[in-house]
């Protein structure tokens, strides 16, 4: 019975596409709060698309929620690094930030192409090259004397390995968060016992090094480090849930 009810509910539930269109309609009608709510629903329904994060960031920006808006745009940009519109919006928000921080660098200089590719893109390319590396010997069964195929398999395997390594580097080293509260003290240890090192403001983009006891150890581009409460930040990982609390101004303040 429960299965039947679930199937019935799923059949009539709004699709991510229709929810996105609904969010767009709200945004165009000047209702950013409803638009943001619809976009979060799209994400919860599995539609983690750069366009959704783009729209969500726009709606949050209209709601004067700079930090969450920047987090949403950062997520969108990680899914589609070549999206100039999201990059322009993010750059504009950065100019409005109180903390003048250097923009986050690409995942690794060694894997320069990762600046143009999302982990999904590079992962798919790696998979394709591995498929080619395995498929070329199959082709050689039919074209034994095709000398071009002799080295191609090795080359494809090498490219596939490089792409896999760069994908891994992008996934592992690009962990960062955005401050979503007006002001937070960065301390030398988790909790109020730590010495207050410096103060960050909403919209500050910092690298996430470690999480411990509901606190994040974050690092600034100039290598300064410190602990902040986890609820004062929002992850830039597009796979992470986007809390509805972030839509409400004032919540999340420690």
């Amino acid at each position: 019975m429960w299965v039947l009810v679930s199937m019935f509910a799923a059949a009539f539930a709004a699709s991510p596409q229709s929810l996105y269109v609904e969010g767009l309609d709200h945004a165009r009608a000047g209702r950013p709060a409803e638009a943001a709510d619809a976009y979060v629903s799209v994400l919860e329904a599995g539609g983690r698309d750069p366009a959704v994060y783009h729209g969500l960031g726009n709606a949050l920006w209209r709601l004067d929620r700079q930090g969450p808006a920047m987090a949403a745009w950062r997520r969108g940009l990680r899914l589609e690094p070549r999206n100039g519109d999201i990059a322009a919006n993010l750059e504009r928000a950065r100019r409005a930030s109180r903390d003048h921080l250097q923009s986050p660098a690409p995942a690794a200089d060694l894997y320069f192409w990762q600046g143009m590719l999302s982990p999904r893109d590079s992962g798919l390319l790696a998979s394709l090259f591995f498929a080619l590396a395995l498929g070329i010997p199959v082709m050689r069964r039919f074209r034994r004397h095709a000398w071009t195929l002799r080295w191609d398999a090795l080359l494809c395997a090498a490219v596939g390995i490089l792409l896999a390594l760069s994908t891994r580097a992008a996934l592992v080293t690009d962990a960062s968060v955005v401050l979503v509260v007006p002001e937070v003290s960065v301390r030398s240890a988790p909790g109020p016992d730590g010495v207050e090192l410096f103060v960050l403001h909403e919209g500050a983009e910092v690298r996430l090094l470690e999480t411990h006891r509901e606190h994040h150890l974050v690092a600034l581009p100039d290598a300064r480090k410190g602990w902040v409460p986890a609820e004062t930040t929002l992850s830039t990982d597009p796979s992470a849930p986007f809390p509805r609390l972030a839509l409400v101004k004032g919540l999340g303040t420690p």
């Binding site: 539609g47 698309d49 366009a51 519109d85």
Partner: protein
Amino acid sequence: MSVFLLILALCCPAMAARIQVQVEESSLVLGQTVTLEVQIIDGRVTGVPEFPVGAGLRARYRGQGQTRSIINMKTTQLVRYSYQLTALTEGDWKVGPFDLDVGGQRLTHPPLLIEVTAASKGEQEQVSVRAELSDEAPYVGELVTYHLAFRRQVDAHNIRWTPPETPGFIVEPSAELAQRDRSQINNGVETAVLDIHLPLRATGVGKQTISPAVITADLPAPPDPRTGRRPVDVFGRYRLRSKSLPTTPLAVEVRPLPSAGRPPNFSGLVGAFTLELAASDTTVVREETVTVTVTLQGTGVLAGFVLPAVADTDQYRVYDDSPTVETIVTEAGVVSKAVFRRAIVPLAEGTMTIPGIEIPVFDPAQGAYVTVASPPVGLRVLPGVASGDESVQRFSTGQDDRRRDVEALGDDILPAPGDITVADRTFAGALPVMALLPMLPLFGFAVLGVRAVAARRRSDPWAELASRAVPSAADQRMAMISSLFRDAAALRIGCTPSEIDKNRLEPLGEAVVALYLDLESARYGGGAAEGLVTRVQAFVANRGTI
């Protein structure tokens, strides 16, 4: 003599810190450069050690190094200060005394005596350096050329020069140093000459001495006095020796500009100048632009010079453009050229005259103030309707582009796209595809493997024999197993089934021969047939053996 001379002085034996001074050679040939080292043992000085050097020598600091050694469990620290010592004038000269403050202690070292002798005549003839000034009694503000000529009749490598110190002069920044290589033949001997022309501007009045410039080059070592031949290396090339050749110092007297006859509007230019003025057109429409080009050329410095201003009148307005100034150093001296462009916009019709330009300058050749002038320019102005401002704008930009930048009124974020299909575009969302893609070739491998196995099975004759069905009818069964045995035996022996007989089967063993005889007996002689099917099938299954 290329051995190191060690001159050691233990100044304060009771104290730990010591000074050592080492010079590569104490007897130098004119122009020779050697290394001098001041060594501080177990101590430190503040800054670089300074010491007096004889007038015929020049010492230049090159750098320092530090070593630490442990001997008999005792650590010794050695700080080396290196100097390049160049012999400039013949005679006996002193370097030192060395009076240094080493960690609060006052340590001294006696002076070194350096003997400088002239180079051999043959060497002097082969390599020489000479310097001269284009004017040995210049006026202040005058531009002169310091000319250095390095002549050699032997190959010289890695040639570099140290400019002279020029008190009372500054190196003119608007002109670049000129350097030229040439060759000349004197009495049938080819001589290579390097000419260096350095532009100097006289700034300090009075007697001045320009110190020697030094040319340093790698030259072939002098001939061995015993053999009369130059030493060569293992490859047969002349051994090279770094040699410094100083010029003689130059005595100069810089004269002040005379106060007598100095015009009140003196431009400050010193040199011989000419002035030219040319108009782009002598007929112009009212409020159109005519460009007047003023070219001032001469032997003085023109960088920073500004044309005398011309005030606007009711008849015309004047707009000056930025001038272009070029200064070239040649063998004949320094030549400067400044080109000024002046836009004239006539405001009234008829005939008008643009006044000429007068520039009072000081001519060193005449030793007096002169005025260089250009004649006035006459213009005929025709009636017109053009706007003066637009004309001037065209003049200043050099193109007739009236477009303006798009004016920004505000700034906002860029909207999200509408025509997209929403999907999970995260890395996790693409994982199934990433996993499946490499599986496709694996599937191909599997298909190929199955095909290969099937092909192998199809081509195995023993498998084919083993798969033959045995008929149920007794006569047919007997014929079939007899045929099966023959085929199997033929396959084993490598002959045709019809060639099978007892003799051919003997190599396969007695049991096979017995099976053959039993089959023949059962088929043609009425022998017992029991068990023959099983025995033949076993023979086939064992690939022709029992």
